[in-house]
């Protein structure tokens, strides 16, 4: 049609886009190095599943808007060819892509598909516009940007249809269409719609395995060691790409225990703040990325402000690391490792430790448990049970890692004893470490004290190796996660089972035969985050309860969408001063599910047990709601006489 005009338009659009996009992306080169070139098969499968497959957008709690997005995404893929064709037609009226000549069968099929997609995209954009302007769900931040982009899309679809109509209107529509494409493209680098460019790479470059269940091990001995994140340059380039990919959809906060209860932490707001900070600091980061020598780099980065000025301490200390945000994010943004890195800098460099946390650290250092009770009293819970010690016998299959709560907390000791009863009834050969056991350090690590965590992790691996441990039973999902996912970084690789999994297995093998008996009232199950979300163990506790004849009435927020009790990420040890209490929010939900007569809430974690028990007592429901561990419920239905 007009080769010169089209040529100028294409050159200007691509040139400006290339320049602006590189101004966004090149600063990432100055951030912390982290290799992401491994496990190509898994990466490709993630790209297909979460990227092209849009898996997370189809999650049940957001399926409506998710489908609208899928329609837009599919239309973009199909119409990309059409856009190339239209620009080609700007040079030569008869241009078509190879194999897609308009009169050929394939060409006609494509044009038909294209028309279907135009309708799908129109419906999708109109639906999303309706949400933005009329229904306005809470998770969306109202912005002119979102509306403008949807306007662009509707404009593209309308002009697309008019082009086919031909005539003068068609010619006008053709040029308007090309112009919108050029403007749209150049708008991307300046807003949250940059995710159109970065989302697929972001999914492909994901953390494998996910970083929040296995936090990055800091090299504390290195000459140039960095202790967490002091400035934006201490985040990894992938964490930078994460924040550039955030579309502020807000799925991360729907079930976020801190956001829901009014704490000053919103992951999408953190992402937004960091994104603006990245843009603001781009000159310094670009200068650092350009220099090769460490000194020049350090000089370029010297002026970066502390990252704690961008993300407030109240925000990063609020996180319970429950992982909901990462389960919900359609583009696999990781928030927890980043927040822990902020805590690490506060704790390891600034010594800005919350008072309560300082106490926990000291207790862990001196006694190996958070309460500071004598380490010599660790095995008192089973003084009358004659439980074998790993130091006394090699004849055991499983090490029962009791954990601090199981050893010292009077309430959780009952769970420890129930587990011993079950293991004996099923004839499982097991032993405990006794006084040699020490805290895994999960809370210390998630509270930012990597140094203390590494000492604890090394001590645990040494004790396990000393006694030839290969298989471990835990009753605490936090011990479970640390031993299973984090000890391998310290040379300890073990087969770890949570007691609920073991009960399920023993019943399936016929070694454990609980008498099926219903509880007096309804029973529900509260999923521990570090079991269900971080480790995908959802079925086992339900199966264990079912084997004892207990049917679970599901909570509205369960399994993958479970709601944290409020104690994860070390929050168990910090006073909850902001917003409302997480445990009360959960207990209200439990009470509503169980109904006015009350019933039982089953748990699988000592922290959840404490938090829910407190929540029940605080809301004066102590008479109607019982909080019991899965092991206790099953053990009540097992008689010791079945001992093999």
């Amino acid at each position: 049609m007009a080769p010169i005009v089209t040529g100028l338009l294409v050159t200007a659009a691509l040139g400006a886009f290339g320049w602006n996009a590189s101004r966004r992306l090149l600063p990432l080169l100055a951030l912390r190095r982290e290799p992401r070139g491994d496990r190509l098969g898994e990466r490709l499968s993630a790209l297909l599943r979460f990227g092209l497959g849009q898996r997370r957008l189809l999650d049940r709690e957001e399926r409506g808007p998710g489908l609208l997005h899928v329609a837009l995404f599919a239309a973009f893929l199909v119409l990309a060819l059409r856009t190339v064709t239209l620009f080609g037609m700007g040079f030569d009226r008869d241009f078509h892509l190879p194999g897609l000549a308009p009169e050929s069968a394939a060409g006609r099929a494509y044009l038909f598909l294209k028309d279907v997609m135009v309708l799908a995209a129109t419906a999708g954009a109109a639906g999303l516009l309706w949400r933005r302007v009329v229904t306005r769900p809470a998770r969306l931040t109202r912005s002119w940007e979102g509306v403008l982009i949807l306007g662009f899309i509707l404009g593209l679809m309308l002009t697309e249809l008019l082009v086919d109509g031909g005539g003068q209107l068609g010619v006008a529509a053709f040029w308007v269409h090309l112009l919108i494409v050029a403007v749209f493209l150049n708008f991307l680098p300046f807003g949250k719609h940059f995710h159109v460019v970065t989302a697929l790479p972001n999914v492909f470059l994901r953390s494998l395995p996910p970083g929040s269940a296995r936090l990055r091990k800091l090299d504390l001995e290195a000459e140039d060691a960095r202790f967490g994140a002091a400035t934006i340059a201490d985040l990894s380039w992938k964490e930078g790409l994460d924040v550039l990919s955030c579309t502020e959809c807000g799925r991360c906060q729907t079930h976020c225990p801190t956001h829901v209860t009014g704490k000053p932490l919103s992951h999408k707001a953190v992402n937004g703040a960091l994104k603006h900070h990245l843009v603001e600091q781009a000159p310094a980061l670009l200068a650092a990325a350009r220099t090769k020598d460490p000194e020049g780099r350090a000089k370029a980065l010297a002026g970066l402000p502390p990252i704690a000025q961008v993300v407030a301490p109240d925000a990063f200390w609020a996180c319970t690391t429950c992982g909901w945000c990462e389960t919900a994010c359609p583009v696999l943004i990781e928030n927890v490792p980043r927040l822990v890195d902020l805590r690490r800098h506060q704790v390891l460099v600034e010594a800005a430790v919350p008072d309560e946390a300082a106490r926990v650290f000291k207790n862990l250092e001196t006694q190996g448990n958070p309460w500071g009770i004598g380490s010599n009293k660790r095995a008192e819970w089973c003084a009358d049970l004659d439980v074998p010690r790993a130091s006394e016998t090699r004849d055991f299959e499983y090490l029962f890692f009791v954990g601090c709560a199981g050893s010292y907390d009077d309430r959780q000791k009952k769970v420890s004893r129930a587990i011993v009863k079950l293991l004996r009834a099923a004839g499982v050969k097991f032993a405990i470490l006794g006084e040699e056991e020490t805290c895994t350090g999960d809370a210390a690590r998630r509270l930012g004290n990597e140094y203390l965590f590494q000492l604890q992790a090394q001590a645990s691996v040494e004790a396990f190796e000393r006694h030839g441990v290969r298989k471990v039973i835990t009753q605490c999902p936090h011990c479970f996660n640390t031993i299973r996912n984090e000890l391998p970084d310290f040379g300890g690789r073990y087969e770890v089972v949570h007691h609920a999994e073991l009960i399920q297995r023993l019943v399936a093998e016929g070694r454990l035969r609980p008498e099926a008996a219903r509880e007096a009232g309804p029973v529900t199950f509260h999923d521990p985050c570090y079991l269900a979300r971080h480790n995908g163990v959802v079925e086992a506790p339900r199966a264990a309860l079912a084997s004892a004849g207990v049917e679970v009435v599901e909570l509205p927020r369960s399994g993958r969408t479970g709601f944290c009790c409020g104690a994860g990420g070390g929050r168990m040890w910090l006073e909850e001063r902001l917003g409302t209490r997480v445990n009360r929010n959960r207990v209200d939900e439990i009470a509503a599910t169980l109904g006015p007569a009350g019933g039982t809430v089953a748990v699988g974690c000592p922290f959840c047990l404490t938090m829910l028990k407190d929540g029940v007592a605080e809301t004066e429901r102590g008479e109607s709601i019982r909080v019991l561990d899965v092991a206790e419920i099953v053990a009540e239905r097992v008689t010791e006489s079945k001992r093999v």
Binding site: V353, E356, N363, I373, W573, T610, D614, A617
Partner: protein
């Protein structure tokens, strides 16, 4: 010459004890840097306080204006900064009290000065003064140096001696150029918690109540008065709003180690026990004989505190 300026705190015409200790610290600092010690006194009707500070042998700058009473960091900071510049202060200090910690960061910002908080002692050599301050909740003492020309610090008063009275002090008036209309903060209310009882963490006897008290702390207070003890509480009692949260004893509250600890209507969950297990003698009073508190108690009484405590108080009173 490196002059030292102390920002004074005073009430009822007398300087606070913490300020006198800060003045002693300032003398030590000035002796090393070869400067003079100045003291800024701000407020309304500060004359008597200024005179008493001058008796410590320092030059007192009295900024007397209605806008400076009551204390407001926003109003005080420019006045202190102005005095600091006028006297050529290299060091600007105050006791690390609530007021000192509130005010000096603003002063430091105005002076473009580096700041160290909670200083315990001066180290280094001669005029090269370095500062010791606690880290890790006091487990580590860090030695830091402030490299900016003007240095601002808060001092932990208990680490320095009281200042002695010497001659040579004088009082001069300092100008106040603060526009009351431009202030963006105002004091709404001052609530003073008056307590005749000892500080919870330092008390020899602690009487703590939990959910079992059903919110009635009067019997506990009577016992506290009889024994000269402090009142503590479990988190449940604090959460119920029965008592202020600075009374909370436990893992996430205060850790106490008195000679005698009464746990009244407290079940004894580990999160509470962690805060009082260091007590020499633990007495548990609880209606529930199964309560875990009896596991850690030296003496246990299965009873309702509401009835048992008044009897106990009556016996104690009678025995005197």
């Amino acid at each position: 010459m490196a002059n030292v300026l102390i920002v004074a705190e005073h009430s009822a015409g007398a300087p606070r004890k913490a300020t006198r200790h800060a003045v002693a610290a300032a003398h030590a600092l000035a002796a090393r840097t070869g400067g003079a010690v100045h003291v800024a006194v701000l407020g309304q009707g500060v004359g008597p306080a200024a005179e008493r500070l001058a008796a410590l042998g320092v030059e007192v700058h009295a900024a007397d204006a209605p806008v400076l009473a009551p204390y407001l960091a926003e109003a005080w900071a420019p006045v202190v900064a102005e005095i600091a510049q006028r006297v050529g202060a290299t060091w600007v200090c105050a006791a690390a009290t609530a007021q000192g910690k509130d005010l000096l960061p603003r002063v430091a910002a105005r002076l473009g000065a580096g700041m160290a908080t909670d200083v315990l002692a001066f180290a280094g050599e001669g005029a090269q003064v370095t500062l010791q301050r606690p880290m890790w909740a006091g487990n580590v003492i860090a030695e830091v140096e402030i490299t900016s020309p003007v240095k601002v610090i808060t001092l932990r008063a208990s680490e320095f001696p009281d200042a002695a009275e010497v001659a040579g002090g004088k009082v001069t008036a300092a100008p106040v150029a603060v526009d009351p209309g431009a202030l963006r903060t105002r004091r709404v209310e001052l609530r003073v918690v008056k307590s005749a009882r000892p500080e919870l963490t330092e008390a020899r006897v602690v009487i703590a109540g939990g959910r079992g008290t059903k919110g009635d702390f009067k019997p506990l207070e009577a016992l506290a008065d009889a024994l000269g003890g402090a009142i503590g509480a479990s988190r449940a009692a604090v959460d119920a709003g029965w008592i202020s949260n600075d009374s909370q004893v436990g893992q996430t509250g205060k850790v106490v180690a008195p000679d005698l600890y009464f746990a009244v209507g407290i079940s004894g969950a580990i999160q509470h026990v962690a805060g009082m297990k260091g007590a020499k003698v633990i007495v548990a009073i609880n209606k529930d004989p199964e309560a875990p508190i009896f596991q850690v108690a030296d003496y246990g009484l299965v009873a309702d505190g509401a009835t048992a405590l008044p009897e106990l108080v009556a016996r104690i009173t009678a025995s005197r």
